[in-house]
Amino acid sequence: MSKSINIVSSRAVPLRETNVDTDQIIPARFLKATSRAGFGKNLFRDWRYANDDESQPRAEFVLNNPTYSGKVLVAGKNFGCGSSREHAAWAIKDHGFDVVVSSFFADIFRNNALNNFLVPVQVTDEFLDQLFAAVEKDPATEVVVNVEAQTISVPAAGLQSSFDINNYKKTCLLNGYDDIDYLLSIKPAIEAFEQQHK
């Protein structure tokens, strides 16, 4: 997993589905691994294949459509709802995405994504519609996400929007820090807290 992320400039894959739950992103039967690696091949497994041996890819599913590729996944409202499985974020990242754009993210998924340097970019419903339209009109179009500037744009279509990101999390993304590094650095404060918390 590559740590630290700022500018992602790439083609995008449009997934026109709302309420994409983590059971679709990675079905439960693929959660039995004990390492973080290799989940990408089971990303959207049951939407990608009609059967379990991968011999029947569903042509209509966007990941099987050679027209689209890239590091940006664009999805409908309420992405990542359901289970807390971080395997969903691992699978998306492992498949090669660095950014997920939606008009709404489930809370646990958003945290999991940030902890894995997968950038959840939340935009308005209107912008999302325009983004879908631009990508579907020209699959080669570049989408540019700038974490530092907190912007997402499609230069060819003249689209631009800003997005919110917590300042602390932004620093983590830009510098490749994770929360554990920070928490370990304040361990004396935690121990002092415990003394009076009893």
């Binding site: 059971d23 959660l31 049951d46 409908g76 289970s83 499985r85 809370d107 304040i186 404060a189």
Partner: protein, 465 residues
């Protein structure tokens, strides 16, 4: 200043507030299980660290354990390895494990409360979204990802931004045949599967107060299904009565001191919530879901929405969902033939749920072409059911009483619903493939599940009581 129940607990647990960023929140109790913990232990070991406060962690095996012949080695190799990994990790890090064969083993959200580990005023986390269940005791409890499991193992803290607060008031008297599962399915149907995203929810009102602890846990359990970070209910005499004398509840020497703290745990009369929603208990009927997210629910006696009732933007997902379920817009679910009935999961596998089902089926037989699986939430629930003779009632009805685990709720073990088959289920999710690839799930209360088991079709419990 007036505080909400959430504020009172949150404020007591903030170790540090980062400028323009999250709070460092201290965690009192951390539950772990075999599926979301291995990579966290691995991460910790990579850093050359030991678990910081092992005595504040409780471990169990639940997600992929078999529900038959648990004394034998697990057949599925990957499941066996994962469960074995948990045993090794807990041993290496000195963590209490209620694994297979232990009298306390069971679904993580069932055993915490029944053992008295879950207590009012605590902050509680687990690598499982249904951790919201524990909020029924007046605790801040929420699900986390594996990186966060690692954080809590390393430091007993989490970086958390304070969520917005929502209060849902359910006032009035519940109708005949309506139980707590119907209340929460009704609420989610009202506000949608994403209606509470970004919020922590407090449930209040006379109808909530009237519920038992088991009923309250069912409500809080499904808070995540409307996107809420968690749900909570202020503790009261019902809470204290449930807790007293439980294995790890404060003993006599501690009880009175704890009670003093717990009695302060309520939202002040003039406390402000970001959103308040009022629901009339009288409006709630026995509920069922028809689609592929828990927000797609209607009265068992009602109609699936018609195409014209759905917003144009939502229509493709709505139609795809009904196509998956093999149902027509505007049609009735009542009378639909069912193939499987599953009574279990962290939503509805407690002793009260089993009693409710047993009370309905006593002296009756299941429909001949329905398979009925009853999966108790824990060894303690199983033991209690046997002590009360509930096992005999199920046996005579032709039900299979299995051994504790998550089972067909998410089908990580052998308990899967075959493709295309209909399952009436007391679990919490009807997502595509949740109970097995292409399985079709109707979410209901234990009472409505009992009706389906006996009649072989979706029915309205009010016609039978």
């Amino acid at each position: 200043m007036a505080k909400t129940l959430f504020d009172k607990i949150w404020d007591k647990h903030v170790v540090q507030q980062i400028d323009g960023g999250p709070s460092v929140l201290y965690i009192d109790k951390h539950f772990i299980h075999e599926v979301t913990s291995p990579q966290a232990f691995q991460g910790l070991e990579k850093r050359g660290m030991k678990v910081f406060r092992p005595q504040q962690i409780v471990a169990t095996a639940d997600h992929n354990v078999p529900t038959l012949q648990q004394h034998l080695p697990i057949k599925d190799e990957l499941s066996r390895v994962q469960v074995q990994q948990l045993i090794t990790n807990c041993k290496n890090h000195n963590i209490e494990l209620y694994g297979l064969g232990h009298p306390f083993q069971g679904i993580v959200h069932v055993i915490g409360p029944e053992l008295g580990v879950t207590q009012p005023g605590m902050t509680i986390v687990c690598g499982d979204s249904h951790t919201s269940t524990h909020g029924a005791f007046g605790a801040i409890a929420f699900g986390i990802g594996t990186s966060e499991v690692e954080m809590v193992m390393a430091t007993q803290c989490l970086m958390q931004s304070k969520p917005k607060l929502m209060r849902i008031n359910v006032e009035g008297t519940l109708n005949k045949g309506v139980v707590s599962k119907d209340i929460i399915l009704y609420i989610i149907a009202q506000i949608s599967a994403s209606g509470a995203t970004g919020y922590f929810v407090e449930y209040a009102g006379s109808a909530i107060r009237s519920l038992s602890m088991e009923g309250r846990m069912t409500i809080c359990n499904m808070s995540i299904e409307m996107g809420a970070r968690g749900g909570m209910i202020a503790p009261d005499e019902v809470t204290f009565g449930y807790m007293k004398g439980r294995q790890f509840a404060p003993g006599n020497g501690q009880w009175d001191r704890k009670m003093e703290q717990w009695k302060e745990l309520y939202s002040d009369a003039d406390a402000k919530f970001d959103v308040e929603i009022n629901i009339k208990a009288e409006d709630i009927e026995p509920m069922i879901t028809y689609g592929t997210n828990p927000g797609m629910g209607v009265s068992v006696a009602g109609l699936i929405p018609g195409e014209k009732d759905i917003d144009d933007k939502e229509k493709p997902s709505f139609l795809k969902s009904l196509d998956y379920m093999g149902l027509q817009p505007g049609s009735r679910i009542k009378g639909k033939k069912v193939d499987y009935v599953f009574i279990g999961s962290c939503t509805n596998s407690r002793i009260e749920d089993l009693r409710l089902v047993a009370g309905f089926v006593k002296g009756k037989k299941k429909a001949s072409d329905v398979e009925v699986w009853i999966v108790p939430g824990s060894k303690q629930v199983e033991k209690q059911a046997i002590a009360e003779g509930i096992d005999k009632i199920f046996e005579e009805a032709g039900f299979q009483l299995r051994q504790p685990g998550c089972s067909a709720c998410l089908g990580m073990n052998e308990d899967k619903i075959p493709a295309g088959k209909y399952c009436v289920s007391t679990s919490n999710r009807n997502f595509e493939g949740r109970q097995g690839p292409n399985a079709r799930t109707f979410l209901v209360s234990p009472l409505t599940a009992a009706v389906a088991a006996i009649t072989g079709e979706v029915g309205d419990v009010r016609e039978f009581i």
